[in-house]
């Protein structure tokens, strides 16, 4: 193996070099690689929720919900945007997490953080099991499996009304104060900072994962699934890992929703929730993590404003929006912004 050593390669390279290419001159600083440097825009982005706490004190509940759904959307981005698995049943893990936290609380265990942990574990185990079904077969079979799992779980929760409360939902949740000190108040202040904290911490973790060699290999699966085995990658194992992680985060998001609203409705498992999530993610732009957050925010704010109108119109325009996005604005909001920025940059250098 010594013949392959880097120094030997370098020696060969400099021997073969023509004067115009100088390997040493290309410093590592100019190389574009996934890194962990926080851009100014990102810091501004994360100050927005903090600012909104002070500027929109009447909307704390809505903003908390946006953050929770944003977390949920990010978990789907890991699976869909980075690994490229089309899943129509991601709500299954969200719902599992919600019911786990809900049932724990209803039966006497109201400590929030341990509830989150329990939800994560349950959802992760479910995700792990389902992932083995998902790695078999092609896109259509995968789609059907994820859809089927979601529907199965919904039916199960519906029929097991004696546990889940069925159509009426699970109520009677009592939450202990966060860290033993912060009560979950009606205005939603504790819920707000709780949601923000969990979202931010998990975001930092996911950001690291996505920019790591593991994240790079996920993109490799998405960009060149055929080549991955040919460079020695065990694709199946990778997909199992990311699907499990995505399920766990979705479970945490579900638990957050349950704990902050102290209620779990059957809709957390339904197909509409999976479909809406997909729409939010695509609206914001897949494969960017921030796209999930932006999409969730835009969608939910719009829904809040327009909900007064006839739901039929809402459904029609969402459908139309989807068709238009697919035909004309593939990268979603962030993709569109990136294109505009690139065009401006080109004009500047021209």
């Amino acid at each position: 193996m010594n013949a392959y050593s880097t120094t030997a390669l370098k020696a060969k390279a400099s021997a073969a070099d023509s004067p115009s290419v100088d390997a040493q001159a290309v410093s590592h600083a100019t190389l574009r690689l996934p890194n962990d440097r926080w851009k100014a825009l990102e810091i501004v982005f994360w100050l927005l929720p903090v600012a909104s706490y002070f500027f929109f004190p009447d909307y704390l509940v809505l903003i908390s919900q946006i953050m929770i759904v944003g977390l949920f959307a990010m978990s789907l981005d890991l699976i869909l945007g980075y690994a490229g698995i089309v899943s129509l049943g991601h709500a299954a893990f969200f719902g599992l997490g919600a019911y786990t936290a809900g049932l724990l609380s209803v039966h006497g265990w109201g400590e929030p953080l341990s509830g989150l942990l329990a939800a994560a574990i349950v959802a992760a185990v479910a995700g792990f099991i389902v992932s083995f079904l998902v790695i078999r077969g092609q896109d259509l079979a995968r789609l059907m499996v994820t859809l089927g799992i979601g529907l199965m779980l919904f039916e199960a929760a519906n029929k097991a009304a004696f546990i889940t409360g069925g159509v009426d939902g699970l109520s009677g949740m009592v939450m202990q104060p966060l860290f033993g000190a912060f009560e979950f108040d009606l205005v939603g202040k504790t819920a707000f900072w709780y949601s923000f904290g969990v979202l931010f911490i998990l975001f930092v973790v996911m950001r690291r994962v996505v920019n790591s060699p593991f994240g790079l290999s996920l993109r490799g699966i998405r960009e060149g699934g055929r080549r991955m085995p040919a460079i020695g990658a065990n694709v199946d194992r990778r997909l199992v890992a990311i699907f499990t992680l995505g399920a766990a985060v979705a479970g945490i998001a579900g638990a957050l929703l349950a704990q902050t609203t102290q209620f779990v409705g059957l809709d957390v498992l339904g197909f509409p929730r999976s479909a809406e999530l997909l729409i939010m993610l695509v609206l914001g732009g897949t494969g960017r993590l921030y796209g999930a957050l932006v999409g969730a925010a835009v969608f939910m704010i719009a829904q809040d404003k327009i909900s007064g109108f006839d739901p039929t119109y809402w459904q029609f325009y969402i459908g139309l929006l989807l068709v238009l996005i697919v035909l004309f604005a593939r990268g979603g909001i962030l993709g569109g912004l990136e294109k505009i920025v690139a065009r401006i940059k080109r004009k500047e250098t021209a």
């Binding site: 193996m1 013949a3 392959y4 880097t6 390669l9 370098k10 060969k12 390279a13 400099s14 073969a16 070099d17 023509s18 290419v21 390997a23 290309v26 590592h28 100019t30 190389l31 574009r32 690689l33 996934p34 890194n35 962990d36 690291r208 994962v209 920019n211 790591s212 060699p213 593991f214 994240g215 790079l216 290999s217 993109r219 490799g220 998405r222 960009e223 060149g224 055929r226 080549r227 991955m228 085995p229 040919a230 460079i231 020695g232 990658a233 065990n234 694709v235 990778r238």
Partner: protein, 250 residues
């Protein structure tokens, strides 16, 4: 790392069509071995059988004495056998540097690492840049693969294989689609690989074959017609007939 590669009675059949029939070949460590034959002779099928793209209908493949016939593709790469594809099979949306680093990380077992960013692996970056330099791709390090010219993409195709540091390298028409000047340069790089690496390549350009191969196997209609040194093959009347006959019917 010297490795032996051997097949025993390898056959592949789809319905009534016999793509490979009873191929028993043995490749010397360090050989520069060319696989030639008319279109449709089953050369790419053979490569697919060697690398595990699909299972054979019958027969066995031995790598370093181990029976790898049932082994998954990625396992064979880990054992030192890598291939390139006839049609560029790349990571379209990733940059050249990212693609090569991905391959290197896989080889080094770094794919489990989720707590450290790619940019922080300075040694991997160095290795990747050195490899790019040997293929004169340094200036393309930041280029997105899909936006590159075909010829450059072909170099990336080779780079990905080299990044796995194979003991046995299988090249499926490496020069396909690139002009002859660049293909000669490409073959210089291949010829410059460490002497203990076995290279098996499919090629149609006879000039390149006779220049770089020290052993040639001729495949016709899924079967081995003959094998020998370049001189022997050039002198073999059956080989001439296969190619001349092809030219007449063309």
């Amino acid at each position: 790392m010297t490795m032996t590669l051997r097949t025993e009675g390898l056959c592949k059949q789809w319905g009534g069509f016999k793509a490979n029939t009873d191929i028993s070949l043995s490749f010397q460590p360090g050989a520069r071995h060319a696989l030639i034959g008319p279109n449709g002779a089953g050369k790419t099928t053979f490569i697919n059988l060697l690398t595990g793209g699909f299972p054979p209908s019958s027969g066995k493949v031995f790598l370093g004495g181990e029976d790898i016939t049932r082994l998954a593709q990625h396992e064979r790469v880990k054992r030192g056998m890598t291939r390139t594809f006839q049609i560029n099979t790349l990571f379209a949306g990733m940059t050249v540097l990212e693609s090569v680093m991905l391959a290197i990380c896989e080889r080094r077992g770094l794919q489990k690492v989720w707590w450290k960013t790619v940019a922080n692996h300075a040694d991997v970056v160095e290795e990747a840049m050195a490899l790019l330099a040997t293929l004169k791709l340094t200036n393309e390090a930041n280029s997105i693969t899909r936006s590159m010219a075909y010829g450059k993409q072909r170099l990336v195709e080779i780079a990905l294989a080299l990044a796995t540091r194979p003991g046995i390298l299988l090249l499926d028409e490496p020069a396909a689609g690139i002009p002859s000047l660049e293909s000669k340069e490409l073959f210089e790089v291949i010829a410059g690989l460490p002497r203990d690496v076995t290279v098996l390549f499919i090629e149609h350009d006879m000039g390149l074959v006779f220049r770089f191969a020290d052993r040639i196997t001729v495949l016709v209609g899924g079967k081995v017609l003959t094998e020998g040194t370049p001189e022997e093959i050039a002198a073999d009347p059956r080989v001439k007939e296969v190619y001349l006959g092809e030219a007449e019917h063309a």
